[in-house]
């Protein structure tokens, strides 16, 4: 028998290490320590009801356990084999005590559809993929279903593009299928570029065949025989695994001429991108694949009409493709039963920033930010206070505590002033300055703007300058109005998605954290203490004992004062390095 005690940050904070000790002591006293082991584990993802203790092999799950409960767990459960009722989880709906953790709702918080094989199969072995029903969906399509049937299934499933905009995938396929041409193309957009996002890379590295299979299914549905994967060159492992997968699929006759001995032929080539953010925009991506500059063009014409080399082209994101084979195998009814009314299925998120369990998660649409951050993500690092979460990368916005309980889907996030985007989620705590965060994202957009249209090229540069101005303490209230105006103009007049969404980080932080902007311009103060130019170091003459430690540590000789007398900092000379603050043993150096 094993007793597993959660050692996640949340549970540790509520003394789970003491639970381990008392359990061990109880077992020792009863002479059971050789038969029952106590093990501290990683986070169970159930921090809300922590500390948790799980008894194996019977899967009993105890919640909110205190060190004093160790005696009763050992006496009742370990010795007599009776679960301790009062420590069991109570289902909030049925009010029943749940003994077996497999019946607890919280396991359903994460459902892995796009990540179904990630971390489960060997990505370099096609047979492991086939054993997990791989290529069965393609087989079913080409032998049992017509192209129209396939499109119908995808349409009814309610699958929407996972790259960011959330366009209905089935509709996209239908438009491409209706356009007549001698050659059509299927393109997989693997140009993942949001800072902090790594979902697509993980899918390609962990389950490349699911994308290949889905592209072939799409080819069958829209009448294309060629596929292209546009992947950034800085994903070498994903490229290597894709190449292996392509080779194996061809060898098995699952790609190439006459797939599975039938009429349908389809093959895929790789195209490498140099890592420009704008190339994730589908028209820019197509131009880049054609060998031109990666610049977007006006839509219409949409790629479905005139795309790669002027032919009808269907572009979908990696995660969208990875969901397709399962939908064919398990049916659209199954897929559309998961999620919210307008956003079906699951979404993969890359959790990053000031969160304990940095990693990849996949949750049904409609899960709340609170569940993701505080339960699955294990809460904020070092017990700090949650401040904001940035979703959707440079095109997204910052959401606050007020938004923690909205069910996440494409429409709700848009209504809250952010976007779903590709699924990057950067968590910020009380130490982050929201003006600096907005500046960081603008820096990224300025760097990545292709320069084709003026609002994005010039406007974002000016917005970035204004933000820098504010963080240096030179801003005025009028600047804030100017900032908002400029952002709105950029949004309305830019050519492509990059420019149209680039002011979002500024606008959403202005909407939600206006007080911080105001503090920067009126009081010349950064509430989080991040903007160096607004920091001012002074010495409290009452506390200063004149030890001279600060003066000796100052690299620019800005501190003067007699030994055993009070010291002073010359603000003109001070470079705000903080050396004096660290040196002072008496807490006499103040930051404000």
């Amino acid at each position: 028998m094993h007793l597993l005690v959660c050692g996640g940050t949340g549970c540790r904070a509520s003394e789970s290490n003491l639970i381990v000790e008392s359990l061990k002591r109880e077992l020792e006293e009863k002479g059971l320590s050789s038969e029952v082991q106590v093990i501290m584990t990683g986070c169970f993802g159930f921090c809300e009801k922590g500390p948790v203790v799980k008894v194996m092999p019977d899967n009993t799950f105890y919640v909110q356990v205190k060190p004093e409960d160790a005696a009763v767990i050992v006496a009742e459960h370990v010795i007599k084999g009776r679960p301790v009722q009062r420590l069991l989880y109570v289902d909030p709906k049925s009010k029943e005590h749940i003994t077996d953790s497999k019946h607890m709702g919280f396991y359903r918080k994460q459902i892995r559809i796009a990540l179904r094989n990630c971390g489960f199969i060997n990505p370099e072995n096609i047979e492991e993929y086939i054993a997990r029903d791989g290529y069965a969906a393609l087989g079913k399509c080409i032998s049992e279903l017509s192209a129209a049937d396939v499109i119908d299934i995808i349409k009814k499933s309610g699958l929407r593009g996972r790259g960011g905009a959330g366009f209905p995938t089935g509709l996209k396929w239908e438009i491409a299928s209706k356009n007549k041409a001698d050659q059509k193309y299927v393109v997989c957009n693997a140009d993942e570029g949001d800072p902090g996002a790594f979902m697509d890379r993980s899918v390609l590295e962990g389950d490349p065949h699911s994308v290949l299979e889905a592209m072939a299914i799409c080819g069958y549905a829209i009448g294309a025989s060629k596929g292209l994967i546009y992947i950034r060159a800085e994903y070498p492992l994903a490229i290597q695994r894709l190449k292996i997968a392509l080779g194996q699929a061809r060898e098995y006759g699952l790609l190439g001429k006459n797939i599975l001995g039938g009429e349908f032929s389809f093959d895929i080539e790789l195209r490498y991108g140099a890592g420009a953010f704008v190339c994730g925009e589908e028209t820019a991506l197509i131009h880049s694949m054609e060998g031109h500059r990666g610049e977007p063009t006006n839509k219409p014409p949409f790629p479905a009409e005139s795309g790669f080399l002027g032919k009808p082209t269907n572009v979908n994101n990696v995660e969208t493709f990875a969901s397709v084979p399962v939908i064919i195998n398990k049916g659209w009814e199954w897929f559309s039963s998961i999620g919210t009314e307008k956003s079906k299925g699951t979404k993969v998120f890359a959790l990053a920033g000031k969160i304990n369990n940095v990693g990849l998660i996949e949750v049904p649409m409609g899960t709340t930010l609170r569940e993701i951050i505080f339960e699955i993500g294990g809460g904020i690092k070092n017990g700090k206070k949650f401040k904001a979460v940035q979703t959707g990368g440079p095109s997204g916005g910052c959401l606050t505590e007020n938004h923690l309980d909205i069910p996440i889907d494409f429409d709700n996030l848009a209504a809250a002033g952010s976007i779903m985007g590709s699924g990057g989620m950067i968590v910020m705590d009380e130490d982050d300055c929201m003006v600096s965060i907005a500046k960081f994202f603008l820096e990224f957009t300025v760097e990545e703007s292709c320069g084709k249209c003026a609002p994005c090229r010039i406007g974002n540069k000016r917005v970035h300058e204004l933000l820098t101005h504010i963080t240096k303490g030179n801003g005025t209230l009028a600047d804030l109005d100017r900032l908002r105006n400029m952002c709105n103009v950029i949004k309305d007049t830019s050519l492509c998605g990059l420019g149209q969404t680039s002011p979002n980080p500024v606008l959403s932080t202005m909407d939600n954290f206006m007080d911080e902007y105001v503090a920067h311009v009126t009081e010349k103060r950064c509430p989080s203490g991040q903007c160096r130019d607004l920091m001012k170091y002074t010495i409290d003459v009452e506390k200063c004992v004149g030890c001279t430690a600060c003066a000796r540590g100052c690299p620019v000789n800005a501190i003067t004062g007699e030994r055993k007398g009070p010291h002073f900092i010359d603000q003109e000379k001070c470079i705000k390095c903080g050396a004096c603050f660290e040196k002072c043993k008496f807490g006499a150096v103040l930051i404000n």
């Binding site: 094993h2 990683g42 359903r108 990630c118 990505p123 069965a136 962990g206 990849l360």
Partner: protein, 130 residues
């Protein structure tokens, strides 16, 4: 490998491959092998998964334990890389995080040899779809 000519061919391969996978993990099979999967995506490799995988391959062989060591993709626990999943015959798989050489050695000696769990377990917190 000969090209698959029909859906029936694909189904046959699927059954064979499933059997092979099942054989490894079936409890009632006395010759059941231990299955060790090392997460080898960019995050895992960057945190040192490659030498850990080599360690398992060499040490399991040296210590005469019948095991299959394979690589797999990202399990999603990037904060705890390198991550390794160990499945003993007839048992549910267990994922271990922060696996360095010391912990890998402990996993072999305690868990694989005697079935005693060791520290570093990452509990499953998601639902599988099949």
């Amino acid at each position: 490998m000969e090209k698959l000519k029909s859906l029936a061919d694909l189904k046959k391969i699927r059954e064979d491959a499933r059997e092979k996978l099942d054989l490894r993990v079936k409890g009632d099979n006395p010759g059941g092998l231990v299955l060790v999967k090392v997460a080898m995506a960019t995050c895992g490799i960057a945190s040192g998964a490659k030498p850990i995988m080599e360690f398992f391959v060499e040490e399991l062989d040296k210590r005469g334990i019948g095991a299959v060591v394979t690589q797999t993709g990202c399990m999603g626990y990037c904060y705890a890389e390198p991550t390794v999943e160990v499945q003993l015959p007839g048992r549910e798989p267990v994922v271990y995080g922060f696996v360095d050489r010391k912990r890998a050695d402990e996993i072999i000696e305690k868990y694989i040899k005697n079935g005693e769990l060791v520290e570093g377990i990452i509990p499953v917190n998601y639902e599988k779809i099949d």
